[in-house]
Amino acid sequence: MADKLATLGFRSFLSHQFLKRSVAAVSCRYANTLSNETVEKHRTSTLAHDKEQKEEKKISAPAPPGLKHVHPEFLPNPTFYRRDRIKEKLERQDMYRRRAVCPIPEFYVGSIMAVTLADPYASGKTNRFVGICIQRASYGLRANFTLRNVVDNQGLEIRYDMYSPLIQKVEVLRLEKRLDDELFYLRDAPAEFSTVPFNLEAVSHPPGAPVPVNTTKVKLGPRPWHERWERRNLRGVQDLGLPEKFYEKAKKVAKPWEEYDLMLKYRTSINPQETDEVMDEVAEGFREIERKRRREKLEKS
């Protein structure tokens, strides 16, 4: 096992930072809640000193800025009790391997995509679905996205696991962003806002150009809705036209102080330093995929 981990580049990872952090993660909760018996001997000393960690220098080449927004699924789950640093690293290795076989292009919520899926019951053994991406969720190998379309006046949504071996091809027909992180309000909007023709031609995006933001403001249908959208601070919808009491209630349940709760933000997100570490590794992984592809091309020619 140790040899296998070493081949994956775990030696340096395991030796210092990883061990320190994983140990910290286990013992942190009780770090300040020692029992009286345990600390009895320290009572005789005049002063106790807290433990500090020294920051260590980075070794690998830096990733291009903004990579974390392009591939957010490589970031680990920020929920602390879901973290397992070895599992995260192994999952990322699997993700590079899958991407080498089935490339997944850059896409965002709001992009129009087409997914070709293996389907043993279909006539051509494949099933192609086109739709607008309304959500990107989860982390690591379980990362998924949801496409929405309206076919024959029937709203349809399909959630695809990005790294599922059943996926044969992922195309991005229109690379664009929307004003919101999730577009579930399209369920409550008229069909025209989520209708995409299946024969839509792909428009190629020039590499390096900024991704355009689609500033369409959706007009929602009348209530009842799937959610209380007036409480969500949506930017991509028109005025909801609700009576004043709805907004008053929304104000009452809002939590504006959370914006300034620095420790809450710190605990519920991956901190910038760790993000950089992961993204540097991801950039190296992508370079490796590219090298492998070039090698195969050479061998073929």
Binding site: A24, A25, S27, C28, R29, A31, N32, R43, S45, T46, L47, A48, H49, D50, K51, E52, Q53, K54, E55, F80, Y81, K255, W257, E258, Y260, D261, L262, M263, L264, Y266, R267, N271, P272, Q273, E274
Partner: protein, 173 residues
Amino acid sequence: MLRFGIRNRPRRLSKAMGRKEDGHGTGPPGRLERMTIIVNSLVRHERIEGSHQYMDEARGYTERLLQIAAQGDKNHEAMDVANYWLKDKDLIHKLFKVLVPRYENYTTCATRMWTLPVEYPGGKNKTSILELKGNPWPPVVPNPRNNSKSLINVLLHNAKKDYRSASKDGTPV
């Protein structure tokens, strides 16, 4: 990234959350209000003393404030956060012009915490000192006295030296 161990969950600090007469509200916003008061006084006085749990919670907020402020006073986010956390506006200048340059080259955290000794029989609550590193106050732990020149130490040192040189020669001491 914080350079000291933090608890995975925040403390609830029930006292802070239920006392309107103290001038801050109840619940989570009241807790945050209480934290701003502690952070404010820490940035002003650079060394404060108080209940251990309040100091420990405020330590994280102070560290994060300093890390975000390191982006500079031209940064919108940094200025916004500093404006919220420092109620005395003269401290914003101190934060960006004094503290941020001070901790620029630090590889450890910017704060230090000391737990004060418990006197018998002691209570449930510990008292702690929270300080910013590089403060102008005398150190909490005085420098240890240099005893190397005391007579006994000089004699012992020389005896050790003699013993080593003798054992190297092979002659019995």
